[in-house]
């Protein structure tokens, strides 16, 4: 067995892959948060609960309707995204003229209510969701064995992140979104229906969370707390990347996943704190975050 820095290679690469997978979820979730924060100025604390709903949606589609993984990957973001649109229309849209704090309270409360309802119905021990047959098994990469499903998660997340980035930075729709993030009333005075754009953006951000939820379902057991386990780290990622920065959340998401994975190898005791240490250092040096505008 070969060694790197006194660590067996397969162990190092294994943790690196685990880090990349966690990073994929951080990136997908913080991307949605960044888009929502940019346009709505709301820190969406319900994001973790909506991620969990995405996973449950996939589980229910399979359990009750026999709809498999691939269709769920498409349907769950649409269904949960529509639920997000409903939330925005009925509740969140009432808060835009108020202090940030109200948005935080509302979405935090929503998260607790949603998680509570699922816990009440399904318990908190977790429900199994099988890896789709086409992604079962592992591939020998020469230096390690990679479970196919985990490789797929990293690739799928990277593709979705890149597509979202390109949509926002390279298209007319994205230009409208960027402009509205800077000065929504002016964009509206050009004849753009900004309230509808805000609603759809929230729906899209929620859809990203639900997509991440479906990806996560076969890896972690589907349980009501799966979102809250992630969401605290994801908020740290958003702060480190720079609030509202699209590229920042993608790069920081994957990057911090890897940092966390490597810490597990070299100094396991610090693995759950390392991200917050990074956050403190970044905030000291660049208060607006790595990619944020001051």
């Amino acid at each position: 067995m070969f060694m790197i820095f006194g660590i067996p290679g397969p162990l190092l690469f294994g943790q690196l892959l685990l880090g990349l997978i966690n990073g994929a979820f951080y990136a997908l979730l913080s991307l949605g948060l960044a888009v929502i924060f940019g346009l709505l100025n709301i820190v969406n604390f319900a994001h973790g609960a909506l991620f969990m709903m995405g996973a449950f949606c996939a589980w229910m589609l399979l359990e009750y309707l026999g709809i498999g993984y691939w269709w769920s990957l498409l349907l769950a973001p649409i269904i949960i995204g529509a639920f997000g649109i409903l939330l925005e229309k009925t509740l969140i849209s009432r808060l835009y003229k108020l202090d940030h704090l109200y948005g935080l309270l509302l979405t935090f409360g929503l998260a607790m209510v949603i998680e509570g309802l699922f816990r009440n119905q399904y318990g908190s021990s977790g429900l199994p969701y099988r890896i789709p047959p086409s992604l079962q098994g592992a591939t020998d990469l020469g230096f390690m064995f990679m479970p196919n499903y985990r490789g797929w998660v990293v690739v799928a997340a990277a593709i979705v992140c890149f597509t979202t980035w390109a949509l926002i930075e390279r298209t007319r729709l994205g230009a409208l979104l960027r402009a509205a993030t800077e000065n929504a009333p002016l964009v509206q005075s050009f004849g753009v229906n900004v309230p509808r754009m805000v609603t759809l953006t929230y729906g899209a951000g929620v859809g990203l969370a639900a997509f991440a939820g479906v990806l996560a379902a076969p890896i972690y057991s589907v349980n009501p707390n799966m979102g809250s386990n992630f969401i605290i780290v994801v908020f740290a990622v958003v702060v480190i990347g720079g609030m509202g920065s699209i590229l920042g959340s993608i790069v920081t998401g994957f990057g911090l996943g890897v940092v966390e994975g490597l810490t597990k190898v070299f100094y396991p005791q610090a693995s759950s704190t390392v991200i917050f240490v990074v956050m403190a250092i970044v905030l000291l040096i660049r208060p607006a975050g790595l990619f944020g505008r001051i």
């Binding site: 993030t181 800077e182 000065n183 009333p185 509206q188 050009f190 004849g191």
Partner: protein, 233 residues
């Protein structure tokens, strides 16, 4: 001439402050009309009220016969009004072309990109620069250019010459005369009435949130003393 905009009894508030106290004026199709007045007279608030950007307003604003007082800004814009704000509102995260193409086309009859580049050659040369990397004059041209291509018939220009070099002010003057020739109607907020006199047909004078006088451009020379008293210059 056909009436394009008729404002009557317009009141507007920002929170508790009552800014406009019954503004009345009208603009006919094809006219260039200015709002003159000191700082704080309510000129910008009048423009924002027309655009629907003031949180609370009352009275009547009729555009081509349609009452707009209760409409959202995007609905008002779609009736055919283009707005160029005082702070110019160029977006930093968009390049020059993206800024130019941002406002959706709302009606036929706007200028083509070639015509805009002919009027403002700088915008073509700097197409890929971030919007806010342009000079103040270029940003002002960009802010005017982007509402020329949408097909809006009434253009609201809020202090387009503010803080600009004389040569740029002249260029903006030429642009306003050119768009008037093409049949656009313009409402111009100005502090600089020497400039206003070179482009406008009529001038309304505002004070304390009301229109207090109207001077036709032809009478401006005879009314200089009156105007000096109003504007305190």
């Amino acid at each position: 001439m056909r009436e394009m905009l008729a404002v009557s009894g317009l009141n507007a508030w920002y929170g508790e402050s009552h800014i406009l106290h019954g503004v009345d004026f009208r603009i006919d199709e094809g006219e260039v009309v200015t709002l003159l007045g000191r700082n704080g007279a309510g000129k910008t608030t009048t423009m924002k009220s027309i655009m629907g950007l003031v949180p609370r307003r009352a009275g009547s604003i009729r555009f081509s016969g349609t009452e707009t007082i209760g409409l959202r800004p995007d609905r008002i814009a779609r009736l055919g009004i283009g707005f160029c704000p005082e702070e110019r509102g160029i977006f930093a995260s968009l390049d020059v072309t993206e800024n130019l193409m941002l406002p959706p086309v709302i009606a036929p009859g706007g200028l083509s990109i070639d015509e805009i580049h002919e009027l403002f050659p700088n915008l073509k040369e700097r197409a890929r620069s971030p919007g806010t990397k342009l000079s103040g004059g270029e940003q002002q041209m960009l802010a005017i250019a982007r509402i020329l291509r949408t097909g809006a018939r009434l253009l609201l220009l809020d202090e387009p010459t503010e803080g600009l070099a004389p040569v740029i002010v002249q260029q903006i003057g030429r642009t306003i005369r050119e768009i008037k020739k093409r049949g656009f109607t313009v409402l111009l907020v100005e502090q600089n009435f020497q400039f206003a006199a070179t482009v406008a047909d009529r001038h309304y004078v505002m004070e304390h949130g009301r229109i207090i006088d109207m001077i036709a451009n032809a009478d401006l020379a005879a009314s200089t003393d009156r105007l000096h008293a109003y504007l305190g210059v």
